[in-house]
Homo-oligomer: 134 residues x 2
DNA sequence: CTGAATCCACAAAGATACTG
DNA sequence: CAGTATCTTTGTGGATTCAG
């Protein structure tokens, strides 16, 4: 059985398409580190600290399906699989670097910023007193 | 009660931080269209076709919390709220444009590519015959 | 070592109705 | 108009176990 991902079927704009491709939980990280050369499954797994193999495999499979990475299987014992960037994947290099730079600057600007905490009831923000509409 | 998002607490690298901030389902789209100027809630909602108000609000709240957009409430009847980019949000402009361009090119390279279909059982990939390990 | 198979919890997203 | 409140549904991701 097949399940559709949470991303919309037809991206509303090209930016959606791009985020659809690199926006996965670990995809950016994998692509970024693959800029330095081939990596094996375990190396990539270590990058994704706390992620189960299942998730790592899924992310890699999607990247492969999207033509950004190449999966090379060596028929040896013990098994060995190497992942590398395709030319298409490498075309993301400047963007990945820009993103990384921006992220670094953002962290410096928000030193102790917590990740998003989603409250079930955000509560009222600015109760206006309803004057006249212009 | 507060719940932690699925993103990791401490991003492993700055690229993770960046994707943490702009990688939400509609965040990129909102930011991208806000490059053209202020927008009201309903305008943004229309961009996110099929998204419930709850989701739109959440995404906007997170962008606001991360300092990328500014929420301006006009105490009038009917209510009016305008969202605009902060300077920090605008600093993403080159990246958003690069992403959009890349996405456009990607779509052209993959004309009829389906979005990711996740199969529960991808099936075997390359059954090696297990020779000797070098 | 590199996954595949299975089960399951929990959070995210959808639908709907409602309010200031 | 711009959200809230609630309920329900969905599905992603964790943990574990097994296999080639």
């Amino acid at each position: 059985m097949k399940k559709r991902q949470r991303w919309s079927t037809i991206p509303g704009c090209s930016l959606e398409a791009a985020l659809n491709v690199i926006g996965g939980r670990w995809k950016g990280v994998f692509l970024f580190h693959l800029l330095d050369g081939k990596m094996r499954f375990n190396e990539l797994s270590r990058l994704a600290k706390g992620a189960s193999p299942r998730l790592v495999v899924n992310q890699l499979r999607e990247l492969e399906h999207d033509g950004l990475i190449c999966r090379e299987v060596f028929p040896v014992v013990p098994p060995k699989v190497e992942y590398s960037l395709t030319d298409e994947g490498r075309s993301l290099e400047p963007i990945l670097i820009s993103l990384s730079d921006w992220g670094y600057a953002w962290i410096e600007r928000h030193p102790f910023q917590e990740p998003h905490l989603v409250t079930d009831s955000p509560g009222p923000i600015s109760p206006p007193e309803a004057p006249r509409t212009p």
